[in-house]
Symmetry: C5
Subunit: 335 residues, 5 copies
């Protein structure tokens, strides 16, 4: 889909214009043209970008055929900018990025993306009603789009933060493979996020600082504002990574604690029953055989059974008390 | 709440003045105005900041509607500065930060914060009694506030240091989920602290080094002093992080030691009792049956019981001695 | 093997020319010569490089006798460039690198490599059919080769990414030494990859930015394009490293989980059978001997056997229920 | 205590002079004054520093009331320098630092410290006998002190190195909480050391490189020498940290090895005795009862006892051999 | 030992000359003097270096009395350079470094070392036969020495690489303390290597880039060549460190796998024998006593023994099959 917004020099919003009219439109001084290519095949876009707008072959190839990390290329009378929008899928803890290619000239802005980008759509909708945006120039439209992009990043980071919080509480209740998978999916997501944010931040640093023909010097302060947002978001995203790392460490500590608990229980049971089992076996030996005439057996049988019962009761009791003193009966999730 | 301190050019402290009088106040040469907005809704502050003081829309939005990492924005005839005060909650090992927005002009300072900030309140109280502060200019008030902020950071860092010390001793006594949680809460707190301190330090580096219209060149040395404090605090906070990391490693080492101890006990018990249990079972076999006429049984029954008892005593004793030589009876918390 | 492509100044492609004719060929203005040495012994190459082309002894030694990390050396009227092609062997997760030495002059390009390099061969083949490449100059041939090299890197990185994905799924099914070996082989491969990519990226940064006699200023933009590709690939390769690290952590977590499961099973079995085994032994003691006249035994034998059977059934059942409540019967791979 | 060394312009060493005479002393051209404040209360030092020497209030506060990381402050006609001396306490593996504040002018040096600093005392003693030091100027005295400080650092680092060596050998013999504590105390000490050395190194970098009124340009080479020493010491201290980290990893590996050994012993014992215990129990069943007339029992009792004994001997023997082949009888500390 | 090589201005090699003749020798234009001090006591070297050559006291102290990291000091008309040669001892995985001090002037080079350095000796031997080296000047001799040093580093790195390869294969066969010690010795060696290589690389970067009176501008390209070698070696040594780290991780994974295997065997044995041991004990109870007249016992004895035997066989078989399905019978080193 190719859609346009065209403001004539008298400030009037004109209905959709055809690609054939683009050249005339951008040649009219004081006018402003926004062309948005959405999921259009390269073959359809290429002639317009190359011939009508006169963009360089390499920039057009970058935009139509390849994926890139965010960057700014200065082609003198226009800028080629690669931006990324972002989405977060909480169930699988996956991050999706959508590339947005922007060509920015003095009085036009061309955006190209393969998938719908909600941040851009929001600005597109507003631009129909609010003519003020157009009066401020093409770079101001770019600012509006990037401001919305920053909002999307903010929401993704908040969703991830929430997910980490949830994990951190669950980690003490549940220890299984699905927990491991969720923690590592989140870790991957933070790695992914960082890989997108670092160059994006750099793009805005350049837009706010460097001298470009397509950006009014007085408008740089707006990109500075977006840059400040991204710096803050980048800082938070860095700490997300540390938090996920902490969650993994917590998980391993909890597993270790659990294992220690299990070991203690095993040792407790073994220590309680092994001695008395031995005693029972001992008196099961045939030296204590029911030889009716054996005086030894007789005597034991009659006089020793009751005290023996006491030994069977007291031995494990003493061992249990001794182990309790050593703290082995306490478990890791006791408070 | 909006509160003011106004020094007339003759050095006299004037009672509270209304917002309507701000414009006149700052136009009087040699005077000094301090306006403090505490938890005031954006709607009430915005017209004063935009119209009376003439601050830029972006700066006012930053101050009233958004949260930021510490930064300095130079708007030529005034500075917009974001600072953070800090609080530490030892029970949950949580760090709270409170944003403080400052607009600093040649003869006025405007502070805005949503929550009471004790560092600022201390300076506010002093300023009523000590007129000298006002005579030194608006930038000196900023210095006084930031000096108090540094004191707050110092106290938080000391409280955290103490908490880590406590944890490090307890880690050898107690190993349970609550310890894990406390260690990771402290780790999170140090991450949080670092995230606040790094940009704050950078703010003071700029105030001490760069050339701003709102700061007297001779007063830069004071911000240099605050900067030196923060550098030292930042260094300590970095080492806090390493110390917490060390506490976690210690915890895991202790758990591993404990597990090793438990395993040794289990093996000890098993090794002592399994052989003699087998022996007891062996002589419980019906080959040694109380068949009165069996000569084998007879002979064993009479002549072998006493030496067998010796075997039952000596076997575990020997095994115990052998294990003691291998160091298995020593426990990790033996000194 | 020494092979050549020679374009005369009139644009005509000339058949293979002999080394003796190189000097004359490069002296003809507007012509273009590409000489490719494939697996030729140093003795055969050295005189041609030193005498015919007049390259510096050190550069020729670097090219013929030593292996290097990628670099650019500027020898004023020609460039000496070391590049690396790459191959990935998925079964052993091994990375192979092939050094490609390039001498680039205004109207000639000399390539030297010990092993066939497919990226170079692809350009070689194309150059026979597509004369346009030659018309754009020697630096454009270099661009074409490096563009193909970048494609090779891309494919290797994709193959590794796939391998990591496979490992990450298998890690939950299989835990044995062969898994450990595969993970560490992949880790080594990512280390290797990074070691090649960092200096290679730097080479293209220099080619795109610096001023070299052998590279037309207008062609720098092409190397900028390759550089952008490599930056993106380098970023992906960095994240590959983190992903492999994550796979190792996952593996260790899974092993720990498995060990915990095994321990729990052991403890479960022991806890269920030890008490009832003791009871069975207890009643095997000869105090309960078949002394016909013992009234105790009689009474027990007749009236107690049935309730005892109940105890033998109920005891383990209760213990099992108690352990289930503590979550010990759940295993790590339960969903 | 306030003590002085005063060289008159004629090179003669004058006895102790009173604070009242300081002003006159430093005004005499060609003379040299060294004042040393040791553990003097701030109230006693402040007037001298502020009024007699005319140091800035902030510098004096830094020196008397606060502790700092090493730094150099240039106050035009004098330098304020914070240095640290160091001590190592091997039993507790603790590092102590002692702050030394120095004010360095063209012909005077003022040192202030709360605790005795042996490096300074050594120079103080020498200065009484060796007048040459004084003739070389105040900056040369500073050089002598810092050279001695570097020696102290060297000794601390060597003591720590020795301690690590000792630990690394013990770690294979002993594994208990006290080892964990010693390793982590040493780790903390290396962190502490690094925190002191990094800024100290920077101080000497500045003294060797920058242009200060109080330091003769020709004397910078001496501070360069101290700087080179500190660079080397810093490098060694960095590697100390890696060595301690390695010791901890070794410790954990050893614990894991030990645990593996214990587990193997347990499994060995269990595997040897469980089958034969079962067999013994089996033949203790009352199906083999001493029923005189049971032909089965009879036959077994007479003919099967001897072969059964063989089974009891051979079964564990075979199992032991099988386990030995699997390497379970070897222990970690076997060579 | 003090030995010399002296080329007169007419290119003739002169026999050993005495220290007394050094001054005259270096004053002859066009001549070239190489003095090598090997293991000479400081007292013997100092007067020559200070008085004959006129080197600065600090440089001479550095050379004779102290050890340093590699560095270059520019003393205007001569350079003082500290280099390190290296040796590797594979059995103990230890790295030895030998300091080489060089004073380089326009027409002389003075080398000082406490131990024989083979790289230097090789150049020394060659220099007797190949007069060409001398004709190229003192800086060219330095280049020859450093080129040989680089070869030594290369060999050490290859020996370490081989050692790591060996360890990586053994780690799956053997797990004991001696393995731990070898891994950590190698780790220490890589740390040591890095500590030497980083500053050494920096030395050659300076020699190749900076402007020194003692180095001919046209000869810088040779030091550039050595620098390129060292960069590559440094990269490899960095990856050695990662490889050793990987070996340690592998070791720990293998230990964990082994422990898991041991646990599984223990659980297997326990699970197989505990139930049937219980059954055997159960039927050993005296309720099944050989009371001839007990009808219960009679019936059981006659009719139940054969089915019971089946239970004793089938129970462990079923449990074994169940465990095999859960993968517990597979071991980590099964392929």
């Amino acid at each position: 889909m190719i859609r346009t917004r065209y403001f004539q020099s008298n400030g009037e919003l004109q209905p959709e214009i055809e690609p054939a009219g683009f050249a005339a439109a951008i040649n009219e001084p004081g006018s402003l043209l926004w062309v948005d290519f959405v999921g259009e095949p390269p073959e359809a876009c290429e002639p317009i970008l190359l011939d009508t707008f006169g963009f360089h072959q390499l920039a057009v190839d970058d935009a139509l055929r390849e994926s890139h990390v965010p960057k700014v290329d200065d082609w003198d009378n226009y800028l080629y900018i690669v931006l990324h929008d972002i989405g977060f899928e909480p169930v699988q803890a996956g991050i999706e990025t959508f590339e947005l290619d922007v060509f920015l000239g003095r009085n036009y802005i061309v955006t190209h993306h393969d998938f719908p980008i909600s941040a851009l759509d929001r600005v597109w909708e507003l631009s129909a009603h609010d003519e003020r945006n157009f009066k401020l120039g093409a770079d101001h439209i770019l600012y509006r789009i990037t401001d919305e992009l920053a909002t999307d990043f903010m929401q993704v980071i908040e969703a991830m933060d929430e997910e980490i919080d949830k994990l951190e509480n669950e980690v003490f209740q549940t220890q299984n493979f699905s927990m491991v998978q969720r923690i590592f999916a989140l870790k991957r997501a933070t790695l992914h996020l960082r890989r997108v944010m670092s160059p994006l931040r750099e793009v805005f640093n350049k837009l706010a600082r460097d001298d470009y023909a397509a950006i009014d010097k007085r408008d740089r302060v707006y990109f500075r504002d977006v840059y400040d947002h991204l710096v803050r978001l980048h800082d938070i995203s860095e700490s997300l990574r540390d938090l996920v790392g902490g969650t993994l460490d917590t998980y391993l500590s909890v597993i270790n604690n659990r294992m220690n608990d299990t070991m203690k229980t095993l040792t407790l049971i073994t220590t309680l029953f092994m001695p008395i089992s031995f005693l029972a076996s001992f008196f099961g030996m045939n030296f204590f055989a029911p030889e009716v005439t054996s005086p030894l057996n007789r005597w034991v049988g009659v006089s020793a059974f009751i005290p023996l019962l006491a030994v069977f009761t007291i031995t494990p009791l003493l061992m249990y008390l001794w182990m309790r003193r050593r703290g082995w009966t306490r478990r890791s999730d006791d408070t």
